[in-house]
């Protein structure tokens, strides 16, 4: 496996993918990664794709449509529907880079993963390695994302990565990331200012 297995936890398997993004399915009972979390998918023995959880779908099925209008549903029925449902929770994953022969790159993966490939949640070490590599170029994928809430996705990711970096001794990482965001968006005042306001909350949470 391309990633460190000790740090990763499988969270689901791939449903569909294209060059820029993919959708993974996971069991509702399983603890799936949070919005903005970094995940990885092994493409082969030497290559893994990195992505951020950019959207989480919980679709209905026939049973839940009937149950939802039923009064006084018992807790057992609710739990049964959640644990044993046939329709998986779908995680939309935005690709932000890949690791090839141990080298992290902030470019799109060379090819998308295949269906039923395993999706793993990255541990703090992997988050630090990925976010600390290069010059934060992967932030452009987040800022350019058209189908996802870019500002909130960025804030969620920077909170997760900022915590990991801080806990691993780099308290300046968050400021560097904000600086990069400003560089990318400084000519677009209308987009940048709301994003920075969101990041102000992140900064407060990080206590930096």
């Amino acid at each position: 496996m391309a990633n460190n297995p000790q740090m990763d936890v499988q969270v689901g398997r791939l449903l569909r993918a294209n060059t820029r993004a993919c959708v993974a399915g996971c069991q509702p009972a399983q603890r799936f990664p949070a919005f903005g979390a970094l995940v990885s998918i092994d493409l082969d023995e030497n290559t893994s794709a990195y992505g951020l959880v950019a959207d989480i779908h919980i679709d209905d099925d026939g049973l839940v449509r009937q149950l939802v209008t039923t009064p006084n549903i018992s807790e057992a029925v609710i739990q049964d529907n959640r644990v044993n449902r046939n329709v998986p929770v779908e995680l939309s994953i935005l690709f932000v880079g890949h690791r090839s022969a141990g080298v992290i790159s902030h470019r799109l993966p060379p090819r998308p993963p295949l269906s039923l490939d395993r999706v793993r949640a990255c541990g703090e070490g992997d988050i630090c390695a990925f976010s600390g590599a290069g010059r934060l170029g992967y932030l452009r994928f987040i800022l350019d994302a058209q189908d996802f809430p870019a500002a909130d996705l960025l804030a969620a990711h920077l909170l997760q990565a900022g915590r990991a970096q801080r806990d691993h001794g780099d308290s300046q990482w968050f400021a560097q990331a904000v600086d990069k965001v400003i560089t990318q968006l400084r000519s677009d005042y209308d987009r940048l200012m709301p994003i920075l306001e969101a990041l102000a909350d992140v900064q407060q949470e990080l206590g930096s």
């Binding site: 400003i182 400084r186 000519s187 990041l199 930096s208």
Partner: protein, 573 residues
């Protein structure tokens, strides 16, 4: 020398611009790190560019970043990050000189480049007027001591006179005195801008350098003897006090002249025969002379002789008549009217001129037989290398100033022309360079007078005859354009009037960029050096004219100046 150039911290990078519209530099930090007039160095590949800061502009990537302070919406850390990238200062640099510095000294290319120069395959690089521009993102620095010395010369070199220091970093800026005296120069500034102190200082430098004799027309008795500063009340040392009577002589106008109660070294008294018709014609405006003056003067010279017309005309009586037996009145033989009738001159014109010349007839410094030829004595002193301060004493009117200065200068011009011609004909020694210092220059060099006075001729042509002017004035706009254009070096203090600023900058490259700078100079502190005599325009904090200045003059090279120690002080080990 290039080796002396130490590397300062870069203050910004070149972002745009050109030779015509100046260079735009984006500053790294606060706008206060650089001021208008700062000497700027730009390092671009194998070249160094030298220029002067002419403007600072606050800029933003989007106007909204500037209009709304980011701190109102963001915490300080994020606001700082945002401001750093979106708000900046643009520095406008007027490029003046460029110098090939070659590849990096440690690189192999440098060795090859250097050996090409040493073998004579290429000229030793020296600063030259800009003919190209630095590349995008070239690093920009405030000039270091080495840069200033590279362009303006080292203070320890013979002929270099420290006139002031760069404003931010206090590096000494020199004026080359040999170059200064090669052409006429000017010191300008509004009243109270420190012109007199600057002039004293520059004259002290010239006298100390001793390559030229200096003749100062000291209209207000400021330069020869000690004075008291009008603002501080402190004693201001005069040139004779500073150098002693063996070098500088104070000449008083009039037989019994005293300068603030002190006797001058000798007195200047004019004889009647010294006054020529052209001296009177120069006073047309001052004496309100009529158009007929030239005709009457010509008739006076023709009938009475060039040497005697003044004496004879003065002796004539105005309105003197004799009455015949039949009661008819006719002009007396000693009257102006009689002379006019005899010589076919309009009586009213002659009498009118006589009336107006009465102001000259009554001058005590014009006598029939002076005890000595004091004009010649003055000229001889200058020829021998002495320096003269001609104090006008109590004769401070424009009439006295115009008459005496022009008369004297006419004699000097003739003398120096003769000496030069003899020298060129190999019949004499080389004339000593002479600098004539003219205060209130616009009175002698205005549009109306310039065509007639000797001064404009000196400004235009006398460089070849070893005579140049140092004009001092507060209204340069009143000086004739043709004269202004001949001034090589211009040292300018604060000027408020737009026309004066325009006049000082006439004929100079980049004058639009320098215009605002002149009106924002700090009075008595800062001067702008311009023109042919300085390698590039530069704003300097002028040196103080105080006891320390005189101490420095006394301990200059000729008095055992420790050059090695001075270099060490300036540039370290």
């Amino acid at each position: 020398m290039i080796e002396l150039m130490e590397q300062n911290q870069a203050i910004g990078i070149v972002t745009s611009g050109g030779l015509k519209e100046n260079l735009q530099v984006r500053l790294n930090g606060s706008p206060q790190q650089v001021q208008e007039g700062s000497f700027i160095v730009i390092d671009s590949q194998d070249w160094k560019f030298y220029g002067i800061a002419t403007d600072l502009q606050l800029q933003s990537i989007d106007l909204r970043y500037a209009l709304e302070p980011s701190r109102t919406r963001l915490p300080e850390t994020l606001a700082n990050l945002l401001d750093c990238q979106t708000l900046y200062t643009n520095l406008v640099v007027l490029p003046s000189l460029m110098l090939e510095r070659g590849p990096e000294p440690e690189s192999p290319d440098y060795t090859a480049w250097r050996s090409t120069i040493d073998s004579g395959g290429k000229e030793e690089p020296r600063p030259m007027p800009v003919k190209s521009i630095p590349a995008h993102h070239a690093s920009v620095f405030l000039a270091g001591a080495g840069d200033v010395a590279e362009i303006f010369g080292k203070p320890t070199e013979e002929g270099n006179f420290v006139i002031g220091h760069t404003r931010e970093q206090d590096h000494p800026v020199c004026v080359n005195l040999d170059k200064l005296i090669q052409r006429s120069s000017g010191i300008f500034g509004a009243t109270g801008s420190g012109k007199s102190f600057l002039t004293r200082m520059l004259l002290a430098g010239l006298i100390d350098h001793n390559r030229a004799s200096v003749l100062v027309y000291d209209m207000h008795n400021e330069y020869g003897l000690d004075d008291t500063a009008s603002d501080t009340g402190e004693n201001v040392r005069g040139l004779r006090s500073g150098f002693g009577a063996s070098k500088v002589q104070v000449v008083g106008l009039g037989g019994s002249a005293t300068i603030r109660g002190s006797a001058p070294d000798f007195n200047l008294v004019l004889g009647y025969s010294d006054i020529l018709p052209e001296d009177v014609e120069l006073l047309t405006r001052e004496l309100n002379l009529k158009e007929t003056t030239a005709t009457v003067l010509d008739a006076l010279v023709q009938s009475l002789g060039k040497d005697k017309w003044f004496k004879s005309f003065k002796a004539m009586k105005r309105g003197s008549v004799i009455e015949s037996e039949d009661g008819k009145k006719t002009p007396a033989p000693d009257s102006v009217a009689f002379w006019a009738n005899q010589n076919g001159v309009n009586v009213m014109a002659a009498e009118g001129l006589h009336d107006k010349l009465r102001r000259l007839f009554n001058k005590a410094y014009i006598v029939e037989s002076p005890p000595a030829d004091s004009i010649q004595a003055l000229v001889e002193a200058l020829k021998k290398g002495k320096h003269i301060v001609l104090s006008f004493g109590d004769y401070e009117s424009d009439l006295d100033y115009l008459l005496v200065s022009n008369l004297l200068t006419r004699r000097i011009r003739a003398e120096w022309e003769q000496m030069t011609n003899q020298f060129r004909g190999k019949n004499g020694s080389e004339p000593r360079q002479l600098v004539i210092v003219v205060e209130e220059a616009h009175k002698l060099l205005n549009r109306e007078m310039a065509a007639q006075t000797t001064f404009s001729t000196i400004a235009r042509e006398m460089r070849k005859y070893y005579v140049t002017l140092l004009v001092i004035d507060q209204r340069p706009s009143q000086i004739y354009d043709e004269v202004m254009s001949q001034l090589g070096t211009r040292v300018c203090g604060w000027l408020g009037d737009e026309d004066d600023i325009h006049a000082v900058l006439s004929g100079l490259a980049g004058r639009e960029a320098l215009r605002g700078m002149l009106s924002r100079l700090q009075a008595k502190e800062e001067v702008l050096l311009l023109g042919w005599g300085v390698p590039m325009p530069i704003l300097v904090r002028s040196r103080r004219y105080d006891e320390q200045f005189w101490q420095d003059i006394k301990t200059s090279k000729k008095a055992g100046f420790d050059q090695a120690q001075a270099i060490k002080n300036l540039y370290g080990d």
